[in-house]
Symmetry: C2
C-alpha cells in the first residue's frame, strides 16, 4: 500500500511535557515518523506520496472554527506574552466550578482549548498539524480512488484531539477528519477502529451522537491510564448514536492473549455494522517495551493485528497514532501493514 507523508510533519518538536511532576523530553518526537518511513521503505511497502492541501473546509467539518483560529495564532500570542524560549503549556482549566468561556489572555485560552499539559504548542505546531491532517485526507483520497488500503503516516497524532481541545500530543483529529471526509464523499457508513494503547477520546466525542460513524476502541483501562476521563465500557453513544460506540478497556499487563479477544469483539462488531470503509487509528504503544505504556504485546503480534483487519475485506485507511518505543516503532507499525497485505 502507498504511504502518504510530508516533511512538514517533522517540524513540530516540543521541548517539554509535564509528567512525573517535572518537564521531561516529549516522547512524541519527529524521529518516530522517520523510523516508520525508513521501515516502510526497507520492506518496500509502497510509494511514498506527498499530501495535497485540502484547505480549511475538511478541518471545520470536525473542529470548531474558533479552535482552529486559536491553533493557528497561539504560538504568536504566546511568544508576544512570554517570549519563545519555552513552548506553550496550559496552567489552569475551566473545570466544574469555573465558567467554560475562552478569556482574552493566551494563558487563559491555552487552558480553555487544552485538556492536558503534556502537549506543548511550538512555533511549527500549526504547520505540522495541518500537514498531518492533509496526510490523512490524501490517504483517504487514495481509497476514494479505488485503492484497497493506504497508510497515512500522520505525525503529530490526532485521536485525543476533540472538537475544540488539544491534548495527548494531538491537535487535529486526523482519523476523524478523514472519516468525516469519506462520509461526505459518499460512504454511507464508516467504521473507526482505534487500537492505540490510549483511548481515542477525541474521536469518540466527535462521533458520539452519530449512527453513521461507528467508533470502537481497544485500550488501557482509563481508571488507570490517560486519558482517565473517557473510554469506559458504559459509553455506548448518545441519541441517534446510541449503540455506535464500543469501548473495550483492558487491564495493565495485557498481552496477546488478552488483546486478541478484544480485537475479535471489535472486528465482529465492524462486520455487523457493514461499513463501506474502515479507518484504523494505528497506535503501537501496546508494545511490551513502550516507555509510557503497560501492555505486553510482542513485535510478532502486530502482523497478526493486520491480518485480522484484512479479513474484514474492507477498504482500509491506516492513520498513524501513538507508539513511543522509537527504535521499534517502525518495525511494529509497518508490521501491522505488511500483516494486512500478506493476509
Amino acid at each position: 500500500m502507498n504511504i502518504v507523508f510530508s516533511d512538514e510533519q517533522r517540524l513540530h518538536h516540543g521541548r517539554g511535557e509535564l509528567g512525573d511532576g517535572r518537564l521531561m523530553p516529549v516522547v512524541e518526537m519527529p524521529r518516530r515518523a522517520e523510523m516508520i518511513l525508513a521501515r516502510a521503505r526497507e520492506v518496500g511497502l509502497g510509494e511514498v506520496i506527498a499530501p495535497e492541501d485540502y484547505g480549511r473546509a475538511p478541518l471545520e467539518a470536525v473542529h470548531a472554527p474558533d479552535y482552529l483560529d486559536f491553533l493557528e495564532t497561539a504560538w504568536n500570542d504566546w511568544e508576544a506574552e512570554h517570549g519563545g524560549e519555552h513552548d506553550a503549556l496550559p496552567l489552569i482549566w475551566p473545570v466544574r466550578s469555573l465558567r467554560n468561556v475562552p478569556p482574552d489572555h493566551i494563558d487563559g485560552r491555552l487552558g480553555y482549548y487544552a485538556l492536558g499539559a503534556t502537549t506543548p504548542i511550538t512555533a511549527h505546531t500549526w504547520r505540522s498539524a495541518t500537514a498531518s491532517a492533509n496526510t490523512a485526507l490524501s490517504a483517504a483520497a487514495l481509497l476514494a480512488e479505488g485503492e484497497r488500503a493506504a497508510f497515512a503516516l500522520c505525525r503529530p497524532p490526532g485521536h485525543h484531539a476533540t472538537r475544540d481541545q488539544l491534548g495527548g500530543y494531538c491537535f487535529l483529529n486526523n482519523a476523524a477528519i478523514a472519516a468525516e471526509w469519506l462520509r461526505e464523499r459518499g460512504s454511507a457508513r464508516v467504521a473507526v477502529l482505534d487500537v492505540d494503547y490510549h483511548h481515542g477520546n477525541g474521536t469518540q466525542a466527535i462521533f458520539y451522537d452519530r449512527p453513521d460513524v461507528l467508533f470502537i476502541s481497544t485500550h488501557a483501562d482509563p481508571r488507570q491510564e490517560f486519558p482517565y476521563f473517557l473510554g469506559y465500557s458504559d459509553e455506548c453513544g448518545a441519541g441517534a448514536g446510541e449503540g455506535f460506540n464500543l469501548n473495550l478497556p483492558l487491564a495493565w499487563g495485557s498481552d496477546w492473549t488478552a488483546f486478541a479477544p478484544a480485537l475479535e469483539a471489535a472486528t465482529s462488531r465492524i462486520a455487523d455494522f457493514a461499513p463501506e470503509v474502515l479507518v484504523v487509528s494505528l497506535g503501537v504503544d501496546t508494545f511490551e517495551r513502550d516507555p509510557i505504556s503497560r501492555f505486553k504485546l510482542t513485535s510478532d503480534a502486530f502482523p497478526r493485528v493486520g491480518a485480522k483487519l484484512a479479513a474484514l475485506g474492507l477498504p482500509t485507511l491506516f492513520v498513524m497514532e501513538g507508539g513511543y518505543a522509537v527504535e521499534e516503532v517502525g518495525v511494529n507499525a509497518v508490521g501491522v501493514l505488511t500483516g494486512f497485505e500478506d493476509a
Copy 2:
C-alpha cells in the same frame, strides 16, 4: 489585634509551578509568612497565638469529604507511583468532552481535584493546609469571644480552593471555612470581602447560592488574569443567593485612583447588607512591585484600605491570602492591619 500562626504552616514548600511554559520556583513560599510575622512583631501589632485543632468537621462544612480524603493521601499515592523527587502536579483534566469522575490512578485524581498546574502537592501539604485552616478558625474564635478584630496569618492561602478543587496555591479555603464556622456559631449574616489581586473563585463558588454569606471581590479582570474562568461582573449569585455576589474587576495597571472607587462600592454594599461579622481575604499582590501581578498600588495604599474597612465598624477577621513581593509583603499586609487599628 492578635495574630494566629502555626509553625506547621511553614512546612509546605513546593519545588516548582508551571508558568511561562516551564517549571519555575513557586512564588508562594514560607518566607512570605515569616516576613509578615516579623513585621507584625516589629510594629507590636498584638500577641502571636498558636491555633487550636478544630478537627475535620469545620473543613467538611465547606469541602467535599472525598476531596479532603484525596488531599490527605495524595502525597503518599504520588510517592508510591512516581517517587518523591518531584512534587505532584496534574497533567490532564476533565473539561468539556471528558467525564467528570475521579479515576483510580493518582495522575487522574490529581487532574480531577485540581483546577490548575501552579499548585504542587508536597510531603507536607496536608499538614500545612490543615494548620492554615485551624489558624483561620482560631482567629474566628477570637471574634466569637468578643474581640473587635483578629489576624489569621494563613499560609498556604485559601481563596482559590473550591468545594473539591485545589489551585492557585490554595488547598483549603481558609476564609470560607472561617465564614461558615462563624455562621454556624450564630452570626446570621457574614460578609466576605476579597481584596486580593486575583479573584476569589473558590469562595465565590462555595457561597454562590447563599443569601446569608455576601461575597464581594475586587481583582484584576479575569479576561486578562488568573483564574480567567471566574470573577466576571455578571456573576451575581444564583437561586436564593442571587444578589449576594459582587465582582468588581479592574484593568491591568490600576492604581489607588482606580482601586478606591471599587473599595468604596464594596464597603457600601457591605454596609447595606449589615452583616454581624466581616471576613477579609487579605491579598497584597495589588502592590506595584508584585512579581506576578499588574496593579500599581503603592505601600501607602494599604493603611488606607485598613482605615476604610475599619469605618464599617464591624467585627473583622483578616485572613491572609496572596502577596508575592516577599521583601515588602510584611510592610504591606501589616499596613492594612495598622491602618485598621489606627482609624
